[in-house]
Amino acid sequence: MSKKTLFSLIASILGVTGIAESSTSKLEVSIGGSPAEFPEGSKGFLIVDTAGDGFDFAKSPTILENKSESAVGSKWGDDDAVVMAGLPTVEFPAVGRGFNVTPRDVESTSWKSGDKLAMVWFPEGSSGGGKPYSYYTSNQVESERGTNAFEIPEDGAVDSIVAVGTPTAEGTVISSPSVTPPKSADIPPQKVEKKGKGSKKSSASKSAKAKLKSKSIIGSKKASASKSSGGKKSTAKKAKKKQAQRGSPL
């Protein structure tokens, strides 16, 4: 179909439906590391924090029960949502294994540019029943091949989030070749205030939380203005600030 014909078709459709003015953005992803941390059969999910108050699963891992079959757009907790679902692992030559996603539309009315992203994966392919999970996020462009921190792209952008590293003697799981790798020590989860929602946790959820063996990893970098968007404004300064306060890797 020629460009003009297609435009005419689009125009006629828009004329009838009168839908809102649209824009698009795309995201590509490479996140990987040692095979031990990214076992074959792991299932990955890219999650967005739509409220900018921190990822709900990091505060209450019980919400990860039975989330391994989630679809794009489904909610995880109060205000986090699935941007990419059910990602399989692929071999990362000379690195190990990881998740790789070619450019994919991420436009949605459920989230906005600048919202924070995290990759969550279930090493055993499913969640619940005390099965482990891992996650990773970062406020920095992690690799020279990346264009963006772990955020929803600006309208019209094609962004790359890339965090790939080789395992080290210390057992580092993910690192960028260009930055100091985060330590993989088992540090207890950080406490993050969640206004208006702090009293929701029940004893049942605490019990379920204890069942989940958290193996999470989170970048320790502080928020910076290093986004290389050529003058594009950041719409997530608030969220970045909160993420920066998280401190050391989990």
Binding site: K4, S22, R145, G231
Partner: protein, 373 residues
Amino acid sequence: MKIPVFYHYLLATSVALALSGLPLASAENPIVGFNRVKCPSKSDTHVSVPLMKLPIKASKTLASAPTLAKGQATLTPAEATEWAPNELQNTHYARFTTGALAGRWYEIVGNTASGLTIDLNGEVGAAFAAGDAFMVVEFWTLDTLFPPGSQTTFHKSTGNLVYQQKSKLLIPNVEAAGINLAAKNVYFLAEGRWEKSGESWKQLEEGWKLSEPGYPDAGSTILPPGLPFIIRHPAGVVATNFEPVGRVLRSADSVALTQVPANRQDNTVAVFRPVEVPLSNAGLDETAFASSASHASGARKDELLVFDNSLAGFNKSPSAIFYKNSQTWFLDERKADSNSPAAANTLSAAGAVIIRKSQGESSSTFWNNQPNY
């Protein structure tokens, strides 16, 4: 504001005339030229190819008005031809250089020894007439514009995965409705390498790949005339040059612009000139580009968005936005009544622009540009 100038050079015997702005004798006097655009590290560079691929396959005139059927036109040249059946099919286009449709180009969808069939792009085709001149030109492809073995513009990727990719080529989305449209496709040039497949190894040849599942070969991907694209270099690589060589268009150029009734519509386009084009002489008349009723942003009609390749960055915002008020060009400085006149500003050679059509009747108009060389 001065739009940055790309380095441009014109070669061949008529270079002096071309640069002096003196009129050249006839359309048959060919000019071969090249443009040079610097592509910095850690940046998107917006470019287009304002030159036709060499050699030009043929220059002909219509013996008669074409036969029209099913959105196609069958052209019969007045001159003798020696084409093999369908040798031009989907690889060449016909660009009209004279007549009512001068400047427009049409993909050749079939040919016989003595005639061509073209896709009319949804047009009626009634304006063709005997004597209209046209050239038969081969499309640029990724392989012909950037031959994998010899090109020097793109840093080759060490593999297909996102983290292994280096330079990328982003093709804009010219089909979707809306504004701020993300690129439609991303391509990269993979280096030749050995790759383990199970227990065995296989040798992979270097070549262009489309960044989508399966990473299909993409060397034969056509780059339509006037379609801009983005060259994206990652951080940590050296700057390169984009330096296409080809035939200079010495007749009109005609660029289709689309308007839709529901919303504003971005048209990512380029004027097919290897030299700077002043706004005042760009050919964006009221038919192609509607004047705004006032300087107030709320009264804004069509806008022209340009990009500055001297500024490094990914996903660049436009460096300037121009509009017309009472058919006079202005730079949008976000002032309600005193924006600066911009008629002297120029469109960059081998650059890219977005013409953001205001909401209006569903239509296609044409931006007709005449050469200033």
